[in-house]
């Protein structure tokens, strides 16, 4: 891992503050992973080792946590990770059509990244937007009540 691949001073301080909220420092592992992903986009094995050292945890513990939760990227993703919910409430409101439209527009399949590194497309489980279906999440943002025109507009706005 390159020397520069560490957490920023700001985040290191935040971790120290967060530790005070819990009986054990191990509790901040999810928060530390979130901070890492915010800075680096994905969590490599080296990153897991770094966080393990930071919190004095075994590497395999951090590995176990990262692989349990779905939101940590274990390989690099595009600048914008598009997650289309296809669970039942969205499915009843044509999420499949949205998913197909995005695949066609970006010329990639689910699980792939565009060659320019701009978009990664994945399918997601229920994201709690059942009343505003169909929907997609891009990064931390929710886009709801989608149709093809709206999707095109959103994709064009994401550089």
């Amino acid at each position: 891992m390159a020397e520069t691949e560490k957490l920023s001073e700001k985040h290191l301080q935040a971790i120290e503050e967060l530790k005070k909220r819990y009986q054990q420092p191990q509790s901040v592992v999810l928060a530390a992973l979130w901070m890492w992903q915010e800075e680096h986009g994905w969590v490599s094995e080296e990153a897991m080792q770094y966080i393990a050292d930071l919190l004095s945890l075994p590497h395999q513990h951090v590995y176990g946590v990262v692989t349990f939760y779905t939101m940590f990227n274990r390989k690099p993703v595009g600048r914008h990770k598009i997650e289309v919910c296809t669970n039942v409430s969205c499915m009843l409101r044509s999420s499949q059509g949205i998913l197909e439209h995005i695949q066609k527009s970006l010329n990639i399949k689910v699980g792939e990244t565009t060659p320019d590194g701009r978009f990664t497309l994945v399918e997601a489980e229920c994201l709690g937007s059942c009343g505003t279906a169909p929907m997609m999440q891009v990064g931390n943002e929710y886009y709801e009540n989608l149709d093809e025109v709206k999707v095109d507009r959103i994709l064009n706005s994401l550089k």
């Binding site: 909220r21 819990y22 009986q23 054990q24 191990q26 509790s27 901040v28 592992v29 999810l30 928060a31 992973l33 979130w34 513990h61 176990g64 946590v65 349990f68 939760y69 779905t70 939101m71 940590f72 296809t86 669970n87 039942v88 409430s89 499915m91 009843l92 409101r93 489980e125 229920c126 994201l127 709690g128 937007s129 059942c130 009343g131 505003t132 279906a133 999440q137 931390n140 943002e141 929710y142």
Partner: protein
């Protein structure tokens, strides 16, 4: 009914607005009561948990030991990941101080010194909103040391999840807060004895906690008169699927499902016939459209109808819905979310999905239907947590109530 959880008042998330509409008055009131009097009031209100199990909240609070040298904890469950459920985010968005006020009152009643609000990782926007609200409440002295001069102190922290349906299961949620994989724990011991870090812990759903200030304001007698006698109070019903106006609607418990669909959610587009509904999130048993007459959104009525309230996430399916695709998608969800700890669930959810896919592509035999039911029956009741049951119930109920859907998908020429 005047909305109690989600009033139409604009900007209630702003602490000044919340205060000027009577906000935090119930915290003041509670702090002048004895903690056990607060618990008694909640107990007498008959408030039942809104996270799916309908367990009496006041009773749950009494399980917390009174004499203990250990710190006590409250976890407010905002993992909200049950497909068809989107009500907690409405509270975060529209009335977040009500949740904080309820959580501090609950902490006072149980002698809790630290409360955690566990929010699913995907709700980044709502976590940001809630953090601002928590900071404001700290700044006004509603959270922290010596709250409003009462001598009672408690902290309230937000803990962000990492994306895992199972973390809505209470013991899994605690493991997640402890920084571990979100595996459910074997019960007993129950959280009130042995919860977070082995200490007494209570876990309540966001909507449940939001009801607490309402109970103190109305008094238990008036509260018990709202809605269904055995399951009273306001309830947030999320209506999704084939309706004209999907959304979260606040109503008293006990409103007929057909009225919810017609009057609140604007009916089915094109006036189509209702083929089926899932009344309370994807794990509750599916009901036939023809069987909805007289069925209401409360624990007893839905139990009688052969389903349950769950999270009151009502999913409506019109006459053109392919129910085999629906159940296959639901099975795929549970297979994806099974934590892998118990063999019946880990393996069974995968097998149910494989068999259902055969029906989906019209490549199944009638024997597959028996096999599917057999797998589902062998998951139910045989796992550490309720995810196994949650995976089995939709499949069992679909087979029982819509056998013709499966029969239509059996392959025409059976191979010898």
């Amino acid at each position: 009914m005047e909305p109690l959880l989600l009033p139409s008042t604009a900007n209630l998330h702003a602490i000044d607005v919340y205060e000027s509409h009577g906000g935090y008055a119930m915290l003041r009131k509670a702090l002048l009561m004895k903690p056990e009097e607060v618990t008694e009031e909640v107990k007498k209100s008959n408030l039942r948990g809104r996270g799916g199990a309908c367990f009496p909240t006041g009773l749950k609070w009494t399980f917390m030991p009174k004499q203990t040298h250990l710190p006590k904890y409250l976890c407010v469950n905002g993992d909200e990941s049950e497909p068809g459920t989107f009500k907690d985010r409405q509270i975060f968005e529209s009335n977040p101080h009500l949740l904080i006020e309820g959580a501090i009152i609950a902490s006072y009643a149980m002698g809790v010194k630290t409360a955690y609000l566990y929010v699913r990782g995907e709700y980044a926007k709502w976590i940001r909103l809630m953090q601002k609200v928590v900071d404001d409440a700290y700044a006004r002295g509603y959270i922290g040391g010596n709250i409003l001069g009462s001598g009672f102190s408690t902290d309230f922290y937000i803990h962000r999840g990492g994306g895992a349906y199972i973390c809505g299961e209470e013991s899994s949620l605690m493991n997640s807060i402890e920084g571990m994989r979100g595996y459910p724990r074997v019960k007993p011991p129950f959280p009130a004895q042995n919860g977070l870090w082995g200490c007494p812990t209570t876990i309540n759903n966001v909507e449940t906690i939001a009801n607490v200030p309402v109970i103190l304001r109305l008094g238990h007698e008036a509260y018990t008169k709202i809605g269904a006698a055995q399951h009273p109070g306001p309830i947030l019903v999320g209506v999704s699927g084939h309706v004209n106006k999907p959304g979260v609607y606040e109503m008293p418990t006990g409103v007929p499902l057909l009225e919810i669909i017609e009057r609140y959610a604007g009916g089915v587009p094109g006036n189509k016939r209702i083929k089926a509904v899932i009344p309370g999130g994807s794990s509750t048993k599916i009901l036939r459209g023809e069987a909805l007459q007289g069925v209401c959104m409360d624990a007893d009525s839905l139990l009688k109808a052969g389903s349950s309230v769950g999270t009151a996430g009502l999913i409506v399916m019109d006459e053109d819905t392919d129910l085999i695709s629906v159940i296959t998608r639901i099975a795929s969800f549970y297979h994806h979310e099974s934590c892998g700890q118990c063999t019946p669930c880990r393996e069974g959810t995968g097998w149910m999905l494989k068999i259902l896919r055969r029906f989906e592509r019209r490549d199944a035999t009638m024997a597959d239907l028996d096999l599917l039911l057999d797998v589902a029956n062998n998951i139910e009741g045989n796992t550490i947590c309720a995810l196994g049951d949650a995976a089995a119930w939709p499949v069992q109920s679909m087979i029982q109530r819509f056998p013709e859907e499966f029969e239509k998908r059996v392959r025409v020429t059976a191979v010898a």
